[in-house]
Assembly symmetry: C2
Homo-oligomer: 625 residues x 2
């Protein structure tokens, strides 16, 4: 498909926007009027700049409150349209968007609207331009695509067609099924926007909180499917009004935008297969989402000094050193199925990360049936492949760069639990250590993100890794709100938690200022008996965040917890959450360098969340120290 | 009155909140449940800490979804209430808040609600505690205070009363007039909240966007008046859920909170005078709002080098040096009625500001009929008085500290246009300079504020200076949104513009990072012929931000501007705005050190705004350079 994006969707000057959009592989743009009005150059110059970058200018949107107006206003708007047609011809933009009238002056008469749009289309036709009519969700008399289509039909002019925007239809919960019956060649343009489900005025929602397909809660695939079933073959475009995107570096936004279209195309392609639709357009067809089965390792970036600190810490956590790397200053620690790698190799990727962010997680190793396919999927979805230097006889584990710069390695399942480590490390002793505390697996990894990274990560984990986001929660830190959202695969063997501090003053935000964001904030490790594990860890010297007695007094009034269990939790400082599916018992360690800490968790039954509602108890406790 | 505040209204740990609240002069707190649950100490210890700080714990709010429930849930909630009564007795809190039920399980039967609340009150009575019932705006069956009052009447228990919260009534546009008919002693507690008018779900509005009285758009004075007419004599409290306050330093929030109550009391006191109400409570009675009549001077903090740079700049702007200070390294420049002071005195307040913020405005001089009364008003409203060292025969101009640390001097009207300067300066030459460009007065001063300073400034300018806020606008900078709000006195002789960057990446935000916020961002000077003035300024060497030709092409299609005027504006780079009352022509200079710049403005007719919609043209132009 011809992929396009509205310039309002990105930050920067118009020229910077065009460069970012071209680099991300777009074919065209929709020109937002303010971008042109404030551009230091003529329409013809803009057309040349876009052309040089390989971009067409697909749409211009200068008209407001046009159709169904009293004669005087209509004549004035026609005159305005003529001046804008001048510009469109000079810049080479073929189509003008006219959105439905919101003015209190407008007259509720579809025939008048049709007649006035007919005249506009006739003027456009004289210059071989086209006009598309779009129903705004907050239009005064026309707010559904069905109403707009009736007016377009009545106007009956070959240079007038319909423009569809998924936001306007899905925000009103209107059924997109009727779109399939509209002749595809009368749909002149398609704008796709997703959005989180918010209970607010639709105009404010539309102007501030749209997002790229795959970042929100709308059934954008279902909408796009109907448009393709109609036989539409025009541009696939994004018009996203989002306060955060207005300030996000535009190169990242442009990549996210392209990824969202590729994801939308590939998901819709699968949907169209049943029942099969004759393909009138070519939809993106990437390798399938990889089957991932949990985290095999977590790698820390360190120098020699911090590697020694980490060694002490992880031993307190019940890990034992089981090997050193064949060719690098890298150490492997293990407990249960958990591998922690401490990388203090100079001149390495890890050292670069250490120098930029201090002691921090620099890579995750994900078990995967077909690592090459996983990398293929990722690069098709516009993630970057990363190849580390490899010594003799060592394994090359395919890796990609996650948003923010950390690596995700795909560890072949075929290697079994130990194959990778046998190949790359000189293993010293693989038995359980005397200090083993019963930690078994990596339950989840929580990332601390800057506000503008959340949508990027939701789309990355969905499109590249095939994870699905859960509920979005807001949690109170003593110094501001934290937004928290889990993402996981269907089997729940791979879980990440995306935490965003809305405040600059929380501990989460201060972690970000060290790491630059997109960094691991805490690591949750699972066990089968949290009381036994916590006791062993305490005996090893691990210190946990203390929890107020008041928490347990209140817990007893909220949830029917057996008194004996409550008493054990109170004594051990263990937090508790219950869902209809099961229970979650957990405890947080004190944080070390850079704010990173560990969580020990025990899932009982099919509990499927992260105890997020207990996070305020942790944050308040940390603040009181 | 007994002044109180809910702990949820401030950032920090519970102990930090109590200290900030006590220091700001509050008498008591409402304890938010999460603050207690996460507090490392017992209820009795909390009571002692509060007592030591001179604070009572006036209210505790642990119940949700209590009344009108099936028997099993009701019994369980009663048990929970008993445990919370234990805590209240231990901490010394006399009143429990029970807000109306939002649960889908609740039964729409006011008699059942009354009976269950009666039993709760009976349990409370056994311990000599009280229960207050409050209608939540989103309550399932009870959402108006009138409904809640009917239930309280029916329950008919001396330990059960009504709790009122202005947010719930005013957000639903319910009429508060009926409150006056409720017996004052059956109103157990009063929570006052203001809010901006937002088109969103009332629950989201309530949880994220409340503000202190005087910061929002509600008629909080009218609401409070009705409560006093009812004969209420209990606490006057603030329960403010606000995402920004959660991260604002709590000392500032506490001062804002106290100022808002003092303002509310003093405004309501005036309202109660007609028709007179027997005073059952003592309302705060500060000196009246000062009569201010415009800015007499703007003072810059500089060192010797930057004073020289400023000298060049202001001479290009048509100012001439007319004097030097009798005892300090301070220079006076003048044009029309505008005095610019450059303060390079070592060991001065200005030098402190210079060292912290670079070359920047450090003080404003406001003409005032009664400066001592103005300072009296300001200190009564919890602003700090500032006394500068004064040399022999120099005038002591009373001053206060504005939020963010700059000074506002009150210059006595009685001194005439020149009295202050004759006293403090050795005047050299007061004639118009050869470079005079026709600048006449200070039209307005625009401040760049951090997001958490906007509400502080709206309340400060309202309560201390008697200015009223205008419309709140959102403007698109290429790197994020700017929120802009003018505040002015009734005569429009004193105007400030409060600009907040919602993004960290705009030029406005970068100015903030230099100045720490609350700093002057640009200075608008008025003239009577902008074309003549601009031509002279250009001839003097002043450089203006260039405006795109596309702006003028578009202007002609939006507004009927006479072609000759349009052509002059295009040639001179002058921007244009038109309201029904008049026109605004303006032009921006390029910025100098620290991002500060000047605006030259001509008001035609009764135009009453600031040309804010043209700011994006400036911001886009600056970004393209």
């Amino acid at each position: 498909m011809h992929r396009s994006i509205a310039t309002v969707s990105l930050s920067g000057t118009l020229r910077q926007k065009l460069e970012a959009v071209a680099d991300a592989g777009f074919d065209g743009i929709e020109l937002f009027e303010a971008d042109f009005i404030n551009f230091k150059g003529t329409a013809a110059e803009l057309g040349r700049i876009a052309g040089d970058l390989g971009l067409s200018i697909d749409l211009y949107q200068p008209l407001r409150d046009f159709e169904g107006m009293p004669e005087a206003q209509f004549r004035r708007s026609l005159e305005r349209a003529e001046r804008k047609f001048d510009l469109m011809q000079a810049m080479g933009a073929p189509t003008m968007l006219c959105c439905s009238n919101t003015s209190p002056l407008s007259i509720n008469d579809p025939s008048l609207a049709a007649a006035q749009l007919h005249e506009l289309a006739e003027r456009a036709a004289r210059r071989n331009l086209r006009v598309g009519f779009e129903a705004l969700a907050w239009g005064r008399h026309t707010w559904l695509y069905g109403q707009a289509w009736e007016i377009v039909k009545q106007a009956n002019h070959p240079h007038l067609g319909l423009i569809l925007d998924s936001f306007h239809t899905l925000s009103l919960k209107d059924d997109p099924a009727g779109i399939a019956a509209i002749p595809g060649d009368k749909i002149f343009f398609l704008q796709m926007a997703d959005a989180p489900l918010l209970s607010m005025d639709v105009l404010q929602w539309a102007r501030h909180h749209r997002s790229f397909p795959g970042q929100g809660d709308f059934d954008v695939v279902g909408f796009f499917e109907q448009v393709l079933r109609a036989g539409y073959t025009g541009p696939l475009s994004l018009e996203i009004f989002n306060d955060i995107f207005r300030e996000t570096p535009n190169r990242r936004t442009a990549v996210d935008a392209m990824r969202s279209l590729l994801y939308l195309e590939s998901e819709t392609r699968q949907r169209l297969a049943k029942p099969a639709v004759a393909q009138q357009v070519t939809l993106f067809d990437p390798p399938p989402v990889p089957a991932l089965s949990g985290l095999s390792f977590i790698e820390f970036a360190a120098d020699e000094a911090s590697a020694a600190t980490l060694a002490t810490l992880v031993k307190q956590l019940g890990f034992r050193r089981i090997g050193r790397h064949r060719s690098k200053a890298v150490t492997l620690y293990r407990q249960g199925e958990i591998n922690l790698i401490v990388n203090a190799q100079p001149d390495s990727f890890a050292r670069e990360r250490f120098e930029a962010h201090g002691t921090s997680v620099c890579a995750l190793g994900v078990r995967c049936g077909d690592p090459l396919a996983a990398v293929g999927r990722a690069t098709a979805m516009r993630s970057q492949r990363h190849d580390s230097p490899v010594g003799p006889n060592e394994l090359r584990v395919p890796a990609i760069v996650a948003p923010g710069g950390n690596l995700i390695h795909f560890v072949p399942e075929a290697l079994g639990a130990n194959g990778l480590y046998e190949a790359d490390f000189i293993l010293e002793d693989q038995g359980a250590g005397a200090n083993d505390a019963g930690l078994q697996r990596i339950d989840h990894v929580a990332l601390g993100l800057a506000l503008d990274q959340l949508d990027t990560w939701v789309l990355f984990t969905r499109a590249v890794l095939g994870l699905e986001p859960g509920e979005s929660l807001e949690l109170a830190d003593p110094f501001g709100l934290i937004r928290s959202r889990g993402v996981a695969n269907a089997e729940r063997s791979l879980r990440l938690v995306l935490n965003v501090s809305l405040s600059q003053r929380t501990r989460t935000a201060r972690t970000l200022s060290v790491t630059g964001g997109g960094a691991v904030h805490h690591i949750a490790l699972s066990c089968s008996d949290i009381f036994e594990t916590a006791a062993k860890l305490r005996a090893n010297g691990t210190r946990f965040v203390p929890i107020s007695d008041n928490y347990y007094d209140d817990l007893a009034t909220r949830i029917d917890v057996e008194p004996a269990l409550l008493s054990r939790m109170r004594d051990a400082g263990v937090l508790f959450d219950r869902s209809p599916a099961g229970d979650y018992l957990h405890i947080y360690t004190e944080s070390f360098e850079g704010g990173l800490f560990f969580e020990v968790a025990q899932r009982v039954g099919d509990y499927d969340a992260y105890g997020a509602l207990n996070a305020p108890a942790r944050m308040a406790s940390q603040a009181q120290d």
